[in-house]
Symmetry: C2
Subunit: 114 residues, 2 copies
């Protein structure tokens, strides 16, 4: 079935991972919705928050919606502001950090490999 | 390599498909960038424009950025406004229509199957 929702209709879940602070996620479109190839998530980082500095076997495709931050990677650090997008290939060390005064919000699409 | 750009750095290309009017696309992240599983595109529909009414073997994951429109499908018609998202499964007849006074802009992620 076709799905259409406002993002706020999807539960905001705390990301409980080592190295993550003040980070929450909404799984907008995922396997439960019938998606078989990739999932669309929305991240919200509180002021001064960051995701884990980590590396994994899947890529990220990111689009920034609100606030400002930095994508720190082994290829360099990149500022992120609304209407910026980013591609993080698989097996690249990376971390998202909120460097602004408000929430830092971005979409992050990942493959579904199960 | 990690990529970070503003969307306006990516060429806006006219969509030259039967049934499309006033529709342009930017391929933000695609195979040329190293993406192997899915591609992130940004669509811009002019006032009164629409995409083709069509059906295909791949799904869409959509996030609305600007303007207002309708996603017309065989499962019903859904209004689309900023911060709405939509999932169109494979093999569903669908069409995007700009119903607002300005540009209607949304992200649309598709699988890469080649």
């Amino acid at each position: 079935m076709v799905i259409r929702k406002h993002f706020a209709e999807v539960e905001l879940e705390k990301v409980d991972m080592e190295g993550a602070t003040g980070t929450s996620i909404r799984w907008l479109i995922a396997k439960k919705d019938g998606a078989e190839n990739f999932a669309m998530r929305m991240f919200e980082l509180e002021k001064d928050a960051h995701t884990p500095e980590h590396v994994h076997e899947w890529e990220h495709e990111v689009f920034v919606l609100e606030g400002s931050g930095v994508l720190a990677t082994e290829d360099g650090d990149f500022s992120l502001n609304p209407n910026d997008f980013a591609f993080v290939p698989d097996m690249r060390l990376h971390q998202f950090r909120n460097t602004g005064d408000g929430v830092f919000k971005f979409l992050c699409v990942v493959p579904i490999k199960e």
